[in-house]
């Protein structure tokens, strides 16, 4: 179906090719996962599939990419629209029409599909992706998961043989991601569509994939069964790492496989993982919550509204120094509103929000917010200028921000435009900028979005350093694995109300939605991370 023949791709002005020497075939009806660090070239690889690279990105393509017998060199993306459906990283940015139904029909109108067939296919896709309840809704009123499904539907109506998805679930809460993945599984299993998807949150998708393509730092591509490609790499999801630790073969890809393996003996003589943990895994190996300091921020009886919509209702919360608090909940449950209140960006409709003894917002530097898109905080055209401006804003000594940035993430070049940094570098820069004001509370909105495994690990270390310095960290996130790694306390919001507020371990282990993979595998025992299990088994990392 898809054939790469000696493909290399070099961006204009780049010293070395982003992708090189790719020679592979993706057979019909496979779900193929593209993995790699940020900036390794995952998006470029996907754009090669329908010719968006180099036609929209610039750069030079060497070799041939052949889809269903058509070379992308001779066929521009619009001539491949009936074969390849491409959904970019931000589906909402690609919407053309006003309502769901018309968005689904757009591609068919361009292909000149007869009206009767068009009508039928729209209905089929509405059912297939469960979009029927929202068929007449204006696109701007959709939630993130709905947008993603509409974007998939909007290319699926052309009946493409290949579906290309760039991080389809990274912006979604766990439940919405499940919806999208269920839809993908149905497409692959029932309709034989070939799906090529790039993803960072591998724990969500690996069990569905037939094959993984790993793009290495030098631009070469390794292809093979998922377990083999991921084994031993930093990107491997917790179940795979748990399998490696316990010596399971083949490596499990789903929680279900891992649960079975955990109860079974590896070899006749050696006990199962459960038994080994039972024997020497006392609670002392589990990460204990950090000791809580004084209350630095408090939310009292708060209600927040957007026009007639109530975003938060009767919320009470204390944030203590020296702890990481994770705020979880569906998209639209009020997480971002809570952070905006703490940062003083909004005033509550009722109740009060105090930060360091004052009303939130009186001292803008007492609580520092890094928004979902760190670029919102960055105004200058180079990293150096941004650091200098941050020093001025905070009244700090010259060089403070740069020093902070070097501590958080060394090696961010001074002359680079913030837009051209990797996601991890951008987050570190935004964090350095707000830390220049020496805030008591650091608020992060969905910080792991778009981060690769290495950047995520560095972020966890950074958060640990921040609370060790005596700051409080509040983290609004969907990423349960990061919560398992770093949070002391977890607060779950639902429809603007606090439904759980307790030690992180208790909250996540008792929720089917928010439980990390290791907890799911070893339930009912409350283990959160592979590192805890490793410590309990006494194995050196």
């Amino acid at each position: 179906m898809i054939r790469f023949e000696q493909v290399s791709f070099t961006y204009a002005d780049a010293p070395a090719p982003t992708l090189r020497g790719i020679d592979l075939v993706i057979p019909d009806g496979e779900l193929c996962l593209v993995v790699g660090a940020t900036g390794a070239g995952k998006s470029t690889f996907l754009q090669l599939l329908n010719g968006l690279a180099p036609r929209f990105t610039g750069g030079t393509l060497a070799g041939r990419v052949v889809i269903d017998g058509r070379s992308t060199a001779d066929h521009p993306p619009r001539e491949l629209a009936d074969v390849v459906g491409y959904v970019g990283q931000r589906p909402a940015a690609g919407f053309v029409t006003d309502t769901v139904e018309h968005e689904l029909a757009f591609v068919m109108e361009n292909l000149g599909v007869p009206p009767a067939a068009m009508r039928r296919r729209v209905e089929d896709v509405l059912d297939l992706l469960n979009l029927h309840p929202i068929r007449e809704r204006p696109l701007e009123t959709l939630s993130g998961g709905q947008q993603q499904r509409v974007a998939i539907g909007s290319v699926l109506t052309a009946s493409p043989r290949v579906l290309v998805l760039d991080e389809p679930t990274s912006a979604l809460d766990p439940a919405a991601a499940e919806d999208v993945l269920a839809a993908l599984a149905r497409l692959v299993h029932d309709l034989g569509v070939t799906v090529v998807a790039a993803e960072h949150r591998l724990e969500r998708v690996v069990h569905l994939a037939d094959r993984a393509l790993a793009i290495d730092a030098d631009g070469t591509v390794r292809s093979g069964p998922v377990g083999e490609v991921l084994a031993g790499t930093a990107m491997a999801p917790p179940v795979v790492r748990l399998g490696e630790l316990a010596g399971w073969a083949p490596l499990p890809l789903s929680v279900r496989d891992a649960r079975r393996a955990a109860g079974a003996a590896v070899a006749p003589a050696s006990p199962s993982l459960r038994d080994r943990l039972e024997a020497n895994g006392s609670a002392t190996h589990r990460r204990a919550p950090r000791p809580a300091g004084a209350v630095v921020a408090s939310v009292r009886g708060v209600r927040a509204t957007y026009g007639p919509v109530v975003a938060l209702e009767q919320v009470d919360l204390d944030i203590r120094a020296g702890q990481v608090v994770a705020v979880m909940g569906r998209n639209g449950s009020g997480k971002s509103t809570l952070l905006a209140l703490l940062a003083g960006l909004r005033a509550p409709a009722r109740g009060e929000v105090l930060v360091a003894g004052h009303r939130a917002g009186d001292d803008p530097r007492a609580a520092a917010l890094v928004p979902q898109d760190p670029l919102v905080l960055l105004f200058e055209s180079t990293v150096g200028a941004e650091c200098a401006a941050a020093d001025r804003d905070a009244g700090a000594a010259t060089g403070t921000t740069r020093a902070l940035l070097d501590r958080l993430l060394p090696g961010v070049p001074d002359d680079r435009h913030p837009r051209d940094l990797s996601e991890g570098q951008r987050l570190a820069l935004a964090l350095a900028v707000v830390l220049a004001g020496d805030p008591a509370v650091v608020l992060l909105d969905e910080p792991t979005r778009g981060l690769d495994a290495a950047a995520k690990r560095r972020l966890i270390e950074i958060l640990d350093e921040l609370v060790t310095e005596g700051r409080a960290v509040v983290l609004a996130t969907h990423d349960v694995e990061v919560v398992a790694d770093v949070a002391d306390r977890a607060v779950v919001l639902a429809a603007g109300e606090v439904v759980a507020d307790d030690e992180a371990r208790t909250v996540v282990c008792h929720s089917p939605v928010f439980a990390p993979q290791v907890a799911k595998v070893l339930a009912p025992d409350e283990w959160l991370t592979v590192d805890e299990v490793r410590a309990a088994l006494g194995v050196a990392p």
Binding site: P77, R78, H102, F106, V107, V122, L375
Partner: protein
């Protein structure tokens, strides 16, 4: 969200536009405030009974407000600069002697009741015309109208649709950036803040345009072979000249002093050229249209309502031109001829003929 018991449908947007244009043309034919008030009442009745609850439905009120502003503006302009014809003196403004080259323009001076009344009625007439356009904006989704455009205008239509969608996104992006300024502990207004907001917002807009273009291309927009270049050039030329001719014809219909022959010729030229442009592109286009709005009995009835109103006032102009005019020296109370009542009744016809709108349930989302 679920299907209603009766398969309600939206009326074809072109029917709404024809109705509104005909009513506006009818309003242009009279300065009788009673007739104008009746027409306005009928239009408002149609809007209230047949608009949907979509975002653009609120535009009627906005257009009414603009109409009031137009009336006030005309009044002020008249009081300050207007020609003085005499009659009942209302009050006196200090007048300014202007040099000879500005003869004919009076600045200040005596203000008479008759002149003020005429200025107000003129303003009112414009306000009624504006209300007609407000009504059609409330009644017909701009997107639906764009989709009803003939193939020759398809590309322009897509461009306008995207531009309309762009505005709220830009606003959201500006809001985000201002929040960013405040998070950095800076003032969120002032010259420096403006630069901090404007540059990144424009960069973001540029990024989005490229993403959008990629998404459209990947979905087959602008596929080769739709229309040959020579045909496209020919039809575009026919389209532009045809539109100009249509404008001339429309002017002729609205202004009685234009020679009838010119109006007729312009109308014939417009119809021929526009028809040719559509035929040329339509025949070659490989594009199809999803669920085109049907043009059925309800549509014809709505158009009939508008055309009926215009016809009634044209007939009245032939029978009793005095009844359509307002003013005179001294000021006389306007009369209400029965044909004007017929016109208002015809205007209100869509309130019965058009299908009732389907409720669009849009759950509010937190920003």
């Amino acid at each position: 969200m679920s299907a209603t018991s009766r398969p309600a449908r939206a009326l074809h947007p072109v029917a709404w536009w024809l109705w509104a244009a005909a009513v506006a043309a009818a309003a242009m034919r009279t300065t009788n405030p009673l007739v104008l008030a009746l027409l306005l009442g009928a239009v408002a009745h149609v809007v209230v009974s047949r608009r949907t609850d979509s975002p653009w439905s609120r535009s009627f009120g906005m257009f009414l407000a603009i109409g009031v502003a137009v009336m006030v503006f005309r009044l002020v302009v008249h009081v300050v600069f207007g020609a003085r014809t005499g009659g009942t003196l209302l009050f006196h403004l200090p007048s300014v002697a202007l040099p000879d080259w500005a003869a004919g323009v009076d600045l200040g001076g005596d203000v008479y009741l008759e002149d003020v009344a005429r200025a107000l009625v003129d303003g009112f007439r414009l306000a009624v015309v504006l209300a007609c356009f407000g009504a059609v904006n409330s009644l017909a989704s701009p997107y639906r109208l764009l989709r009803a455009l003939p193939a020759v205008l398809y590309e322009a239509g897509v461009a306008v649709t995207m531009a309309v969608a762009f505005a709220p996104e830009m606003a959201a992006s500006v809001r985000q950036r201002r929040d960013g300024q405040r998070l950095r502990g800076r003032a969120d207004h002032g010259a420096r803040a403006l630069r901090g907001v404007a540059v990144p917002v424009l960069e973001g807009a540029l990024d989005r345009s490229i993403e959008l273009a990629a998404s459209m291309d990947a979905r087959g927009y602008g596929r080769r072979g739709a229309v040959a270049a020579s045909v496209r050039r020919r039809s575009t030329a026919a389209l532009v000249v045809g539109m100009l001719a249509a404008a001339v014809a429309a002017y002729g219909v609205l202004d009685d002093t234009t020679p009838r022959a010119l109006t007729a010729v312009a109308a014939v030229v417009a119809v021929t050229l526009l028809g040719a442009a559509m035929a040329w592109t339509g025949a070659r286009a490989t594009r199809s249209r999803y669920r085109p709005d049907p043009f059925g009995v309800a549509e014809w009835l709505v158009v009939l309502g508008g055309v009926g109103a215009l016809g009634a006032l044209v007939a009245l102009g032939g029978v009793d031109p005095e009844a359509l005019a307002f003013g005179g020296q001294p000021l006389a109370w306007p009369t209400l001829p029965w044909l004007a009542v017929v016109a208002a009744g015809a205007t209100a016809l869509p309130a019965l003929a058009a299908p009732p709108p389907r409720p669009v349930l849009v759950p509010a989302v937190a920003a």
